[in-house]
């Protein structure tokens, strides 16, 4: 059961998690209510999204604009990312040791493990921050090798950061538009002479940017500087910015860090909403209840090795996982 790499959608595991999610919800209802605060010019000016793009009044239109439009070779349920014996070494330290697993298109895969297990390293090896020492990462039938980080983004992997890394002096909308720029082609000459393509891209970017902000629930704060947003909204903005690059795979690196239970429940809903809009999600997270509640399948790492791979319910009962997190009881080890 430990190495059970069953990769189908599992409604059972999903349901089991959904119950856990309910627990969060009962504690507080108002996590993402707009905070009532002083209105300072340039700092807090809630705007009505429909003033700018009237079509966005309809949530279905929003979801449609946000949904991925690009061709993906892998069919739903087929492997989108395949890690084959990937190892990453830093000098003498083996951070990742022959890790093999797949992420299937359309699923939410959880990647968990105790501190220092190699989750973020695994993530960085996939997104091109580190090059694997050995092994290959295949993304949408293409072997990833010798790509620059911005090229990997354009290939279709987007990520958020463990510590929020927004462009703090830009407004929320401008942050998202930087994400949409990953698909744009205008360069200096086009911008100087304001070519038709430039104007077209700019108009599209605002429409898509506003739709994305509305989708993650912060449309009203589009004109605020990123650094003035509350922490929870900053995390949402990061997700919107990542989605703006039109990714085939969205990687969330501990998106719930520093969240209270109510915010975690809201995040859970958002992640589900993103999946049902057609995205594939990789979730790295410490919070077990969130992971159990939202993922379809979980991969567990410990000391750079994969120790389990399976449905959330299986992982919860897996003795190796329990040992990794809680240690082995004295009487059992004897």
């Amino acid at each position: 059961m430990t190495r059970d790499s069953e990769s189908e959608h599992d409604p059972g595991g999903f349901e089991a998690g959904a119950e856990v999610g309910e627990e969060y919800r009962s504690s507080s209802e108002h996590a993402f209510e707009e905070p009532v605060g002083p209105i300072i010019a340039d700092q807090y000016l809630p705007i009505d999204v429909t003033d700018v793009v009237p079509e966005l009044a309809d949530p279905e239109v929003v979801a449609e604009i946000v949904a991925p439009t690009r061709e993906i070779d892998a069919k739903v349920g087929e492997p989108l990312v395949e890690l084959d014996n990937v190892s990453v070494k830093f000098g003498g330290l083996t951070a990742l040791d022959s890790v093999t697993f797949t992420i299937n298109r359309g699923e939410i895969l959880g990647l968990i493990g105790p501190n220092g297990a190699g989750k973020t390293t695994c993530f960085n090896a996939m997104t091109g921050v580190y090059r694997p020492t050995s092994g290959t990462v295949t993304f949408d039938h293409q072997v990833m090798a010798n790509l620059k980080r911005n090229q990997i983004t354009r290939l279709g992997i987007a990520r958020t950061f463990q510590n929020v890394r927004l462009f703090s002096e830009m407004t929320a909308l401008e942050n998202v538009v930087v994400g949409t720029d990953a698909r744009h082609k205008t360069s200096v000459p086009g911008a100087i002479f304001r070519t038709p393509r430039h104007r077209h891209e700019e108009r599209d970017a605002i429409d898509r940017g506003m739709a994305l902000l509305e989708f993650v629930g912060i449309g009203a704060r589009a004109t605020e500087k990123a650094r003035n947003l509350p922490y929870g909204d900053q995390r949402r903005l990061e997700i919107a910015r990542a989605l703006a690059t039109e990714p085939k795979l969205l990687c969330l690196d501990e998106p719930a860090a520093g969240f209270n239970p109510a915010e975690k429940a809201a995040l859970q809903d958002l992640i589900r909403k993103i999946r049902s809009d057609g995205y594939t999600v990789l979730l790295i997270e410490h919070d077990m209840r969130l992971v159990m509640g939202v993922t379809d399948r979980i991969v567990v790492l410990e000391f750079g090795k994969k120790i389990a791979d399976g449905l959330p319910a299986e992982i919860r009962d897996n003795p190796a996982v329990i040992a990794a997190y809680l240690g082995v009881p004295d009487d059992a080890s004897a």
């Binding site: 209105i39 340039d42 983004t153 927004l166 830009m170 700019e202 605002i206």
Partner: protein, 404 residues
């Protein structure tokens, strides 16, 4: 859920600063309305060296010449602002590009230079040589920016600053030591300038250094050069403004804010850093060409590293990233020392202490207003205006509701 929101009484809003109100009002105006304010202001600036009100006029050096120098520094500040203010690349050798621009024109037109292509045996008429060489100077400095940038822009922060500092010195030392070419420390005299409007009293034309009338309402050479500068500043501002409100400007600001995050979000960082260097350099080169034409004489000492620091001072003082702010910064840097030269305390002229004052001013500014005199609020979207208008409408509505 709604009941909670309705019963919560918002705390009273703190007073909105004058600057913020002004900015909101300005942002809500349409583009023609912006021009309606800008055109009279530009006209006022253009008339200033003719009008010469007593409290503004400088005595030690002709006010027209001071304004011409301000125009060149304003161009430099706009160019440096692209590199430092927008893309966040600390360039301490910017004077190098200024020097390359000036020496391009000087080498091509000074009779002392072996590369002189004007005059009787040259193929460029002295009358139009300067105008023809202005775009060439911009192009050559752009290439030099590309050459400096492609190896060095892999460096970040302090390392980049040190390498660019070295570049600035290298350019000056080349000008000093390539004696066969640049005539060393003796400099290159008699550089071409546009010869227009010759008359019996004005044998060199209106742009000649000989045109030095000091009466009010009579444009002298300095004033004419200032008008040329003003024209170029407007053109450059339009170009840089278009860039700022596009993918390019957003890439620059995202690199300034967090280079790694920008790259992971798909910004080709190296490419856009190089563009910032190239654009900044060509604007600096243009300013250098103006300088060579106006003074008609260049020597290496005009391009000391202290000038780089002065340009940077103008950018920081005015407000990094704000195009209009850095122009104000350039005005302060150029104008104040000349104005204060005629103010004497005891036997000392205040103008002699300019570096002391700039140092003090920078220290005070860094403590009380680190964002500069006119802090930046960049607009990075071509069609973002309607958003800000929508935001303003909402804030007004809530204001009036609160008043009831």
């Amino acid at each position: 859920m709604t009941s909670v929101a309705a019963t919560t009484v918002p705390p009273p809003a703190p007073p909105v600063a004058v600057g913020d109100r002004l900015r909101l009002w300005w942002n809500s105006l349409s583009r023609p309305a912006h021009w309606a304010f800008a055109v009279p202001f530009i006209a006022f600036l253009a008339i200033l060296p003719l009008w010469r009100p007593a409290f503004i006029n400088t005595t030690a050096i002709d006010f027209g010449v001071v304004m011409a120098q301000f125009g060149m520094y304003a161009l430099l500040a706009i160019g440096l602002n692209v590199v430092v203010g927008q893309a966040g690349l600390l360039d301490l050798g910017y004077v190098g590009f200024y020097a390359i621009g000036a020496y391009t024109v000087a080498l091509a037109t000074s009779p002392t230079s072996p590369w002189n292509i004007t005059g009787d045996d040259g193929w460029l008429s002295r009358q139009w040589a300067w105008l023809a060489l202005l775009p060439l100077a911009a192009a050559i400095t752009a290439i030099s920016g590309l050459l400096l940038g492609s190896p060095t822009l892999r460096l970040r922060g302090d390392y980049l600053a040190i390498v660019t500092l070295g570049f600035g010195e290298i350019v000056r030392l080349l000008a000093e030591n390539l004696r066969d070419l640049t005539n060393g420390g003796a400099g290159l005299p008699r550089i071409a300038y546009p010869v227009i409007g010759e008359s019996a009293t004005n044998r060199g034309g209106i742009f000649s250094a000989g045109n030095a009338v000091a009466q009010p309402w009579m444009p002298n050479a300095g004033t004419w050069w200032f008008w040329v500068c003003l024209f170029l500043i407007i053109v450059v501002l339009l170009v840089v403004g278009n860039l700022e409100r596009s993918r390019v400007g957003r890439a620059w600001v995202s690199i300034r804010e967090d280079e790694d995050a920008a790259e992971i979000m798909g910004v080709p960082t190296f490419k856009f850093k190089l563009w910032a260097f190239v654009i900044g350099a060509s604007i600096g080169g243009m300013s250098g060409a103006l300088y060579a034409g106006q003074v008609q004489f260049v020597t290496p000492t005009n391009f000391n590293i202290i000038n780089s620091v002065l340009f940077l001072c103008a950018v920081v003082l005015g407000g990094q990233g704000n195009k209009l702010g850095v122009i104000l910064g350039a005005f302060i840097i150029v104008y104040l020392p000349y104005r204060l030269q005629s103010v004497e305390i005891g036997d000392e002229s205040l103008g002699d202490y300019k570096y002391l004052f700039f140092g003090l001013a920078l220290m005070v500014l860094m403590i009380f207003r680190p964002q500069g005199l006119l802090p930046v609020r960049q607009k990075l979207l071509t069609y973002g205006r309607e958003l800000y208008v929508a935001a303003r409408r909402r804030s007004r509505a809530s204001d009036s509701e609160a008043a009831k």
